[in-house]
């Protein structure tokens, strides 16, 4: 079991995390914008997350916390 948490308001919408996820479960939340004006990154199918932390490693803005 694993979980990722995004501090959505500091996400810059760069999508780097989406390139690093081996499970391809990170998407941009096109239904909302954050205080910076970006669609923030989010995970929809959290049950598929393996807690590898690849997304957090590549995020330039320390948006992501990973639990496992």
């Amino acid at each position: 079991m694993a979980k990722v948490t995004f501090k959505e308001d500091i996400c810059k919408g760069c999508q780097l995390c989406t390139t690093a996820c081996p499970k391809n479960i990170i998407v941009m939340a096109t239904d909302r914008i954050n205080v910076k004006g970006y669609h923030p990154a989010t995970v929809l199918e959290m049950e598929k997350c393996i807690g590898c932390a690849n997304c957090a490693l590549i995020c330039p803005d320390c948006v992501i916390t990973v639990e496992r």
Binding site: I10, I58, C62, V66
Partner: protein, 247 residues
């Protein structure tokens, strides 16, 4: 569940001014994580450059000093010589280090100063709007070489790590990249070794980190990672050029 990744205490809470997807942010975090793991956050002193990372003093949770353009190694030399028990590092871009600051970086290595340099090579002048740097690749467009850099006009791009590795006082020289998680893990290992080299008093240490500038390259952040891998790594090969054992 236990936390397996959270923001390091080596960074402040301040949000960075870097453009979306700029890998300066990844490199900051790796340096800060290493300082935290080596337990030197209370003892480290960083020197910030002129360039996009000019505000690095707001982001690293350690004592910081600002230097004028290219002069960070000289400022760091003074700090280290006055306070030899502190861990001293510079963080510099390729315009800062490989152009206006070439003399400083060559001679800090030549003197074997026991400092560590984090050299961010994004093949362009970022802060000032995308002018050609000594590291700009042949054919790469910049505002001061709009048809792409040509060898006839500007020479071949400068390979700083290879050059510094010829200098006896440079104890640790390695080039890494941050375009995917595998390379990010390797980059962190190299940064840790560089700081350990300083702490053991073995001489000057430098890690060149290949980095992206999506804004001035004019390509999206995710495409920039691919551009780096396809274009920069063939000319700037990754790997270690010098370790203390052979120095």
């Amino acid at each position: 569940m236990a936390i397996v990744f959270e923001k390091t205490k080596g960074l402040t809470d301040k949000e960075t001014h870097y453009c979306p997807g700029c890998t300066h942010g990844i490199i900051h975090r790796l340096v800060a994580e290493v300082l935290e793991e080596l337990d030197v956050l209370g003892n480290a002193i960083g020197v910030a450059p002129v360039g996009c990372s000019v505000l690095a003093y707001d982001y690293f949770n350690v004592d910081m000093h600002e230097a004028s353009h290219g002069r960070a190694p000289a400022v760091a030399t003074g700090i280290k010589r006055a306070m030899p028990n502190n861990v001293v590092f510079t963080y510099q871009g390729d315009g800062d280090l490989a152009s206006i600051g070439t003399a400083e970086i060559v001679h800090v290595a030549h003197r074997g100063e026991k400092i560590t340099t984090i050299f961010v090579n994004n093949a362009i002048y970022g802060m000032t709007g995308g002018q050609m740097a000594p590291t700009t690749l042949i054919g790469q467009k910049a505002t001061t070489c709009q048809d792409g850099r040509s060898k006839a006009h500007s020479g071949m791009p400068l390979r700083v790590s290879e050059m510094l590795a010829t200098i006896d006082g440079a104890a640790f020289v390695e080039r890494v990249s941050v375009h995917n998680p595998v390379e990010i893990r390797k980059a962190k290992k190299a940064i840790k070794k560089a700081f350990e080299c300083q702490i053991k008093g073995e001489g000057f240490s430098i890690v060149e980190v290949l980095s992206t500038c999506p804004t001035n390259w004019g390509i999206a952040p995710t495409e920039s990672l691919k551009w780096l891998e396809a274009n920069m790594i063939p000319y700037y090969p990754l790997g270690n050029f010098r370790t203390p054992e052979e120095a």
